[in-house]
Point group: C2
Chain length 404, copies 2
């Protein structure tokens, strides 16, 4: 029997308890691992919940109990998660975390401490919720050089963009509906401004390359400037607008960014709608493979957490997870990255066709039937800096979105 | 350095050599595993290929060389693959196979021999080509009871059905084109009659449940009776026709079958087109997750084979892969399985509406504009035996396809 302690009895924490209660017998029979939740750490009490018998308020009770071999950190945020995780690893306990903020900020150090102490620091649930992606990257896509990872990594924004696309509502209305359904938080900044996606693509890129990515170096834009109007143009062009976290190899360096993109109907990411997540991995010999599923939600996320607990339990005293080394992955400055861009302009097409063609190379123009004094265009392939130089010379630019 | 031997220098075998040549350094740096191909077994000689220096015609050379720790079986077919794999495992060598025929027929015994000899028998590439699916099922989706696995597992038939759907060509024309492009073999029986898919869904179900599935017990139908006409009805109904291998849990038993199905646009399998494969796994807590990619092809398949070689190399002397036990999974007889069905009839709708409604419960009727004396309908949920009883009472039935 493996005694475990769960730090935080919030959404994911209650999910972990649910999954162990529901599937404990299946896990014992099939995986040979019997899990016993010995403690749940939370500031609050839960007098009407059977969990109350296991609630502790003092982390030292868990830390000093040598019977506890795995600590499950599902609190979120960097502190006190970092302090708790670090001391657990140093005490010879494996740590499982669903916390992307912790992993992105402190993963390098925690992986190193885990290695030194011959325990494991696992975080499958930190990216893509229930979708298996960290373990496939580290144990399945091992014969390849990963050339690109591109993901729809945030269910909240994907839901909002889908709603804007299918129902023609604007950003604010989509946000209100997402909040009403519990998909978006009262303060939605981390989701809609892309910070959540940024941390996830940093983690995935670190895992895929074995070098750590400083998430603060990743150029990050959110979806708050995406309008229902842009959706209409995108649709007419055969595209859909998605918030992507993307990183791709250019020689030994990587180009990484988070931004809304026009995604073509040919892409397997195009049909990832609603709150679902999808992660496309391109290997130099494998080609494209995609992982799809529930990127959030209590039970799917808890399923991934419990799978990590099982992996830690099966590998007690054996550091199995390399993660990445304390060597920084060099990112290409955003100015030097080449893209194509969609631009919408509040002006007549005929008056501007010549200058747009001259400035942006090969371009595709598009107008909507009911919009006289407006047009959009797709540029040729340009570096970000060249594009910005050129777009500054056009008046009445309403919006700019990159094209994948 | 790990010395390996490749049995068979066909498509997958040459792919394995290519992947090791291309990514050997990346694999060494990132995975810490240096691979050396010491022998390639083939009946033929390859005088103009550098591989000739490693070609042997006698398997005993490999078997008796204690330096060879991993044997790669990429010959296909049950014999002599079975004899070779068995003797390698007994000699303390791990075996990696891409051979679904071998794994479906002899997997139980080979897994057991591997365990007894503390080596590994790995076969990621046997299902879904390059798509990671076996390892995710055994190491990631471990906190769940798997409720269903449904896959488009054969690229050849998916290409043909896609072509019939988008270009309106009939089965024979689609087959000819698939053969011209090298997607279908001269004798396409194994693909078009569903035998290939049958072995794959048997393997996946065995891995997911830990009990072996006798592939010969799986009800298997191919796509040779699917007509371009049915495609038109399906499209009008908002469906697409796909060849699925599917198994789902009903209590402690499973219902498994291979057949063409009408798949609705809501399904994540709907958008798997062309030669691609997609495998949907439903967990009781995870919900739906899907794995998508190149289900065949030299390099993607070889990528999965080499990933298994790396896994075997990292775990020398340590049997890590449970696979399944020598306990048979009970399948529900096809007669007792409940489904909904699409039926096309060469007769007037009005003359038949009453009897169809009476026989099949709640039904949805559909006619095409240019077809006067023909209609189709979708039944309510019926057992296979009840359905067959009822359909026998209708005259001029042209085709029957299940609905997913």
């Amino acid at each position: 029997m493996k005694n475990i302690a769960v730090l935080g009895y919030g959404t994911v924490g209650t999910g972990v308890i649910d999954v162990i209660n529901t599937n404990g017998k299946v896990i014992k029979d099939r995986q040979g691992v019997e899990l016993n939740v010995k403690y749940v750490l939370d500031l609050r009490d839960f007098p009407n919940d059977p969990i109350q018998a296991k609630i502790v308020h003092d982390y030292d009770v868990i830390l000093n109990d040598t019977e506890v071999s795995i600590v499950i950190e599902v609190m979120g945020g960097v502190e006190p998660a970092y302090t708790f995780a670090k001391s657990a690893l140093k005490a010879g306990k494996s740590v499982v975390s669903s916390n992307k903020a912790l992993v992105a900020a402190k993963g390098t150090e925690l992986l190193d401490i885990a290695k030194q102490n011959n325990v494991n620091f696992l975080f499958e649930a930190s990216c893509g919720g229930g979708i298996p992606i960290i373990r496939p990257l580290t144990t399945s896509i091992t014969a390849d050089e990963v050339m690109e990872i591109t993901g729809i990594l945030n269910g909240t924004t994907n839901y909002m963009l889908h709603k804007m696309n299918t129902e023609g509502v604007d950003f604010n209305e989509a946000l209100t509906e997402a909040q009403r359904l519990g998909y978006a938080e009262a303060d939605p900044t981390a989701d809609v401004e892309g910070h959540d996606t940024c941390r996830k693509i940093a983690i995935l890129t670190s895992v895929a390359t074995g070098k750590y990515v400083d998430f603060e170096e990743i150029h990050t834009e959110g979806i708050s400037n995406v309008s229902a109007e842009d959706m209409k143009y995108a649709k007419k062009l055969g595209y859909s607008i998605k918030l992507l976290g993307t990183s791709s190899r250019i020689g030994e360096k990587f180009c990484a960014m988070v931004a809304p993109f026009l995604v073509s109907a040919d892409s397997s990411l195009y049909s990832i709608v609603d709150v679902f997540n999808g992660i496309l991995v391109k290997g130099n010999v494998l080609g494209d493979t995609m992982f799809y599923g529930s990127g959030a939600g209590k039970l799917p996320t808890a399923s991934a957490v419990v799978a990590d607990i099982i992996e830690a339990a099966k590998n007690e005293g054996n550091n199995i997870f390399d993660g990445w080394k304390d060597e920084k992955l060099e990112l290409i400055p955003i100015d030097d990255v080449s893209q194509t861009f969609y631009v919408r302009v509040k002006a007549g097409l005929e008056d501007n066709k010549a200058i747009v063609t001259k400035l942006f190379g090969a371009v595709k123009f598009i107008t909507l039937d009911n919009k006289d004094n407006e047009f959009a265009f797709i540029t040729g392939n340009l570096t970000e800096s060249k594009f910005r130089n050129s777009v500054d010379k056009i008046e009445n630019v309403e919006s700019v979105i990159r094209v994948k």
